[in-house]
């Protein structure tokens, strides 16, 4: 939103920006943290952003199409310069190209794109559930929750320790209890405790991310449960499991979806997701739920979990 202190010519319209690589560092096996510096264009600085939003990053000449990445963080510097942070895993041609970028290299991006996580009134305890490359938007959301004076607990999971794109520090992650502790710097710097799970038990609780979440729900007072919103991003089966758990415990759940997309702007119609819609449906599921295709890029990427047909 425009504020009175900004000149009138400043445009908050999403658009294309040139970006310079500030840093591109390895976080863990196959994962990198990329910080991009963006100077204002003739219409002003890079627009305001919120957790859940993403950018379409140019990987030319390696790829024809851009690659979408959720924002993991943002810093506003002097003279309208903005630094955006993304965390990515090397999975294909585009991300392989990104991994060789060095400080000073340039690319461009479209953004900011997509909708955002909502902080509903009356709620004040956020459970941040991030699996694999679903973690980065949780870092950004954690900052927003703190600014909004919410309490928060992070649930962090991956297949193995070396695929966890986080910085361990402070406390040791609890192994058998799954008890959240100040063991991950991205969250502990905001006084947010984290419960760590790995499928192979190489760090934290052995099992799926929902195992730690389930234990946490068991310790939660009724009063606290009323304050909870579960925010999640990660692989589809994990989102589905987290959504089911939220439903079982009667708490709101917002999921941030990932889907292959060409444009990110609502035109190519490729990033479809089935969303429950009783009015004007395009189809019905086997169990009788009417649905309509919505676009991850412009209707999402954040949806209320109870509306998503998993």
């Amino acid at each position: 939103m425009l504020t009175a202190t900004q000149p009138q010519s400043v445009s908050n319209t999403r658009r294309r920006f040139d970006a310079q690589v500030v840093s591109n560092t390895s976080v863990c096996r196959e994962h990198f943290c990329l910080t991009l510096g963006i100077d204002p264009d003739e219409r002003g600085p890079f627009p305001a952003t919120r957790p859940g939003q993403f950018i379409q990053l140019g990987c030319q000449p390696a790829t024809l199409l851009r690659r979408p990445f959720s924002l993991a963080g943002r810093k506003d510097l002097a003279e309208g310069r903005v630094e955006l942070q993304i965390v990515y895993r090397v999975v294909g041609v585009g991300t392989r190209w990104l991994a060789q970028l060095q400080a000073g290299d340039t690319t461009d991006l479209l953004g900011p794109l997509g909708n955002q996580f909502q902080l509903p009134e009356g709620k004040s305890l956020g459970l941040l559930v991030g699996g694999g490359v679903g973690l980065p938007p949780m870092f950004y959301l954690a900052e927003a929750l703190k600014q909004a004076h919410w309490d928060a607990v992070a649930f962090v999971g991956a297949l193995t320790e070396d695929l966890l794109a986080v910085t361990f520090g402070g406390s040791e992650p609890a192994e058998s209890s799954g008890e959240p502790s100040l063991c991950i710097e991205e969250f502990s710097k905001l006084s947010i405790a984290s419960a760590v799970t790995t499928d192979d038990g190489s760090v934290g609780l052995a099992g799926r991310i929902t195992a730690g979440l389930e234990r946490y729900f068991d310790t939660l007072s009724e009063e606290d449960r009323q304050r909870v919103v579960l925010f999640t991003c990660g692989p589809h089966p994990m989102l589905h499991a987290a959504a089911k758990l939220a439903q079982k415990h009667g708490v709101d759940c917002q999921v941030c979806l990932e889907q292959a997309m060409a444009c990110g702007m609502g035109t190519c119609q490729s990033c479809i997701v089935q969303i429950a819609e009783p009015d004007n449906p395009q189809g019905t599921t086997e169990d009788g739920r009417p649905w309509r295709y919505r676009l991850t890029c412009t209707d999402g990427p954040v949806f209320n979990a109870d509306q998503v047909i998993f």
């Binding site: 024809l64 199409l65 851009r66 702007m265 190519c268 490729s270 295709y293």
Partner: protein
């Protein structure tokens, strides 16, 4: 006589069978939504023409995911003609398009169907709108009757176009978008012209297959998809040059060239091959400003070539004599 060396930019205006455009740049159907989806990223009013996505008689949800996959220098899609259908298009989308047209670009509505009746009903109705300058037929759909694809069968294509042309307002141009998935494209091009097409647009996507070697299944849920992007550009340029030289030029039917256009030099190739209009598709996904950026490049190139108008470049290809 020497050409006047003027400081003015070369003229980009083109005439497509009487349809006068400020410049040859258009959006390719299906890559630019219904109207203003890209307005944050580019001033659409600078285009010569805006082409909508395909409109069908009934709303279509489209195919299940996965709908796209990127391939070397290209992408494959099987969106399944997802669109709001004729009624909602007329009620909710057309006003925006009319508004856009007032700002400059000609308005072209793309129409898809699965029977001659479908095409006649939709094209006929849309052509009733005075602001619609042209209807473009997507004929790369199978006919529900006999399963033949309209765009690959010259006889069926000619019949279809005859009916559609008669159903349309006389001064609304009929563009037929040719499919490259044929043995001899000059036959379908000729059939389209015989049927009454005013303009040809070419080419639609190439039918293609990408396989996930782990699952041994297609990477696109539909199975096959249409290949677009720079990967098909030399193929498209070749087909444009063939149709221009063998069929379209002598019939006086202009061609809208498309297929992997990303830069001004790509655009210049199509013009030299014989295209009068130029549509940008896949590259819009990476940068919606592509057609506008191309215009600046074309102006410089024409000036370098000492041409005062883009029309001087069209069809100037010198093929070796065999």
């Amino acid at each position: 006589m020497t050409k006047s060396v003027s400081q003015e930019s070369p003229c980009l205006a083109v005439n497509l069978a009487g349809l006068k455009l400020a410049n040859p740049m258009m959006t390719a159907s299906g890559t630019c939504g219904y109207a203003y989806e890209y307005q944050d990223f580019v001033d659409l009013h600078q285009l010569g023409a805006f082409v909508t996505k395909s409109i069908s008689r009934d709303p279509r949800p489209g195919n299940p995911a996965t709908r796209i996959v990127e391939t070397p220098s290209g992408m494959m899609n099987a969106i399944g003609l997802a669109n709001v259908g004729l009624d909602v298009f007329l009620a909710e989308k057309l006003d925006q398009l009319k508004q856009m047209r007032q700002g400059g670009p000609a308005l072209i509505v793309n129409v898809a169907g699965h029977s001659i009746d479908d095409y006649v009903a939709v094209a006929g109705r849309i052509a009733q709108e005075q602001e619609v300058d042209a209807v473009e037929l997507n004929v790369s759909c199978p006919n529900v009757g006999d399963g033949l694809t309209f765009g690959t069968d010259p006889k069926l294509l000619k019949e279809l176009i005859g009916y559609v042309r008669k159903a349309m307002r006389a001064d609304c141009k009929l563009i037929v978008q040719l499919s490259p998935n044929v043995g001899d494209i000059t036959l379908t091009a000729g059939a389209a012209i015989d049927g009454g097409a005013n303009i040809l647009s070419m080419i639609n996507t190439y039918t293609a297959l990408a396989i996930d070697i782990k699952t041994r299944k297609p990477r696109i849920a539909n199975g096959t998809g249409g290949l677009s992007g720079p990967a098909i550009r030399p193929l498209a340029v070749y087909l444009v040059s063939r149709v221009y030289r063998e069929v379209a030029q002598k019939a006086g039917v202009p061609i809208i060239g498309m297929g992997g256009i990303r830069t001004w030099s790509d655009a210049a190739e199509f013009l030299i091959a014989g295209a009068t209009g130029l549509a940008v598709g896949t590259s819009l996904f990476a940068d919606p400003a592509t057609p506008v950026n191309i215009m600046a490049g074309l102006e410089s190139y024409l000036a370098e070539q000492d041409m005062s108008s883009i029309t001087e470049l069209i069809g100037t290809l010198e093929m070796p004599v065999r």
